[in-house]
Symmetry: C2
Subunit: 216 residues, 2 copies
């Protein structure tokens, strides 16, 4: 892994952007990410059903055919918005697993990073929570499986911390689900522009997570 790819956090560049030298894949990834960003804001404001691809194209000063170059349609855009939070969170777990040393540092850094993703992707996650019934059944189930994988990996990290004697938790798999609940609750506690900063809400969420596993 090169130094630059270790330092870059995926959510700060276009989601899924490749790191090679060719410009085209990066441009494609950038355009997809910009479409999703505006679509998440549009669905957040108007609701999925009321929003149209014309409105989305207008916000981007682009055309509907431009959108169709990157997504099959409105349903595919919704799906990409809904899965972004969990795929970025899983990628964060992978990335942190390569850097942190002790099991407890790994768990703490992972929770912190996911809390920050939830704050950065607030609109995406609110759209997911509201509009999941508008997803195709197959997409909805695939995203649920990713969320389940996330819970399992957090549960595994908690078990590692128990094994290493850092914490005592009677039922790690169950507790990981409630940690998921605390992290998701960030979208209720935080709104961009509200009096509480994202940083402060992430701190509170972290403290709550640590209390749940018997730390702090």
């Amino acid at each position: 892994m090169t130094k630059s790819s270790t330092a870059a956090k995926p959510r700060q560049r276009a989601a899924g952007a490749p790191t090679g030298r060719e410009i085209k894949p990066g441009v494609v990834a950038f355009k997809r990410a910009r479409i999703l960003e505006e679509a998440a804001a549009l669905f957040f404001e108007k609701g999925y059903e009321a929003a149209t691809l014309e409105m989305l194209a207008d916000r981007l000063s682009a055309t509907k055919p431009f959108l169709y170059t990157y997504f099959r349609g409105k349903a595919a855009i919704l799906c990409a918005i809904c899965e972004l939070g969990v795929t970025e969170s899983l990628a964060a777990l992978d990335r942190i697993a390569e850097t942190e040393r002790t099991s407890i540092d790994l768990l703490k850094a992972s929770l912190r990073e996911v809390a920050e993703i939830i704050i950065a992707r607030n609109e995406y996650l609110v759209v997911y929570q509201r509009e999941m019934m508008n997803l195709d059944r197959g997409d909805a189930q695939r995203i649920l499986r990713l969320r389940h994988e996330f819970d399992l990996r957090i549960g595994k990290m908690i078990e590692d911390c128990v094994r290493d004697g850092y914490i005592t938790v009677p039922d790690a798999p169950a507790m990981s689900i409630w940690i998921g609940g605390l992290l998701s609750w960030i979208t209720y506690c935080y709104r961009p522009g509200s009096s509480r900063s994202g940083e402060a809400v992430a701190d509170q969420a972290m403290k709550a997570c640590l209390r749940l596993i018997g730390l702090d």
Copy 2:
């Protein structure tokens, strides 16, 4: 308070049903509650925007004018569905405050009761979480104020437990918000007919809440 009114739990009779001798207020309350029950199931299945008052009348083998006798329209029905969970929870806190003795028993019994309300009202709460953007602005704000009142009252109960030496919690008001998050997460963990029973999910949620305040 008579013996019978102490024994009856409000959510097991029609919501808001009076306890006097006249039959009419009870019938009105029963009809309103039945309309809300079917409407919550309909909105849960179809989504608020796709659902119509004709569909709702059909489910009740009734007519649209019958519905208009009890509610001003679809928006008023949505509002009543969305506020039911929090008003029943606040009523539960009132009721338990009259029966429990120590501050810690009061807190435990309150959390347990609210967990059971969330399980019993699963569809109402999912509809609220999904459809809150379809509420009139004034209704949405009023329901948020009720939720805030709930958080404050749980925060006050936690402070009482700290004062009485049962627990040590650094920031009771903040912690009450995260307890609200754990309780709300029940709607993600529990689906009627799923492998985990409502009882089991309520038990897990309770354990997580108690860990959050440093008990268990």
